[in-house]
Symmetry: C2
Subunit: 190 residues, 2 copies
């Protein structure tokens, strides 16, 4: 986009809308554009002036969320013992999962099918790489496909987010629970 030609206040509003949308969508995946505009301190018309449709706004927010998530995850040390690396990765990523839970739902029913998965490609690849390494070193099981293990990790983390929201576990317990569960699940049988 020709951001350079944009006037300063326009640019300011765009980022205001983006951050407001991120916050609103993370609370309620079905927020109306009106509420997002209001939260951004901007008229609804202005919002539509920058984002042609609700879907494109959600997409932009989602892309941004993935980007900042990637930044965090990129700093995690994935070298050394794969089990310890996985522990570190869980500690960082489960928080993101918890945070962007509702946003993911919003993306899933506002964006065309496949789009969500495409944007998840990078973070997914990171997990896959670590799991593959662990498998080749005999630390993680190889009797199940890597994609399945990734799915299990994903779902257990989401489950933890649900449990927290329901008040059945605390935020502090989540990471250790997830770690204990996944390390056991990924250990080779016998």
């Amino acid at each position: 986009m020709a951001v350079t030609t944009r006037r300063a206040d326009a640019q300011r509003n765009i980022t205001a809308i983006l951050t407001a949308a991120a916050e609103c969508l993370s609370r309620d995946p079905a927020v109306s554009t009106s509420e997002i505009a209001k939260a951004a301190g901007v008229g609804r018309v202005t919002l539509y002036g920058h984002f042609p449709s609700r879907a494109e706004l959600v997409d932009a927010v989602f892309v941004q969320a993935i980007a900042t998530g990637e930044e965090t995850l990129g700093q995690v040390d994935l070298t050394g013992d794969p089990r310890e690396a996985l522990t570190r990765l869980i500690a960082s990523s489960w928080h993101l999962v918890d945070q962007y839970r509702a946003l993911l739902i919003a993306a899933q029913d506002a964006l065309p099918p496949g789009r969500v998965r495409d944007l998840h490609a990078d973070p997914m690849a990171r997990v896959e790489r670590l799991l593959e390494r662990g498998r080749s070193e005999g630390v993680f099981r190889t009797d199940l496909p890597t994609s399945w293990l990734v799915s299990v990790m994903h779902n257990v983390m989401h489950g933890a987010a649900t449990e927290i929201q329901a008040g059945r576990i605390t935020s502090d317990e989540a990471a250790p629970y997830i770690t204990a569960t996944l390390l056991a699940a990924f250990t080779p049988p016998e």
Copy 2:
């Protein structure tokens, strides 16, 4: 409800609506009442004659689904080695989870909060009982709360349903994958 006073054709329509709704909601959690009525071969007005609102219809369908599920699960032999009992339980329940996936979503955003969980109490208790027994026999881990283990089981099964729908695993692979994963995850550490 005074089913006895109902005329025969009315009773027929009610069950037709119920089964049609079950099928439609299992495909798309957001189907309109019009489509359900159409699928049941009934006018929309007739539907509203029997179910005062969409929510009550969804509730009725959900109650029915739970009931038939309970019937299936009730026949599973949960005695003997807890690990083998769990394997049998997974074989029966994961299919139900897969089948009623969309219906659950429909229930979650049409029914008052807590209602879904209330109706799940029985199937949940069955799982808990088995896990508790396994724990007391030293076969399942006790370093994590039972409720967490139930949650993990739930989420892994739902994940499998997602993977199937995405075409990444086949229907046949699901049960063995889930079993292998959960048995490992539930095994006491060390």
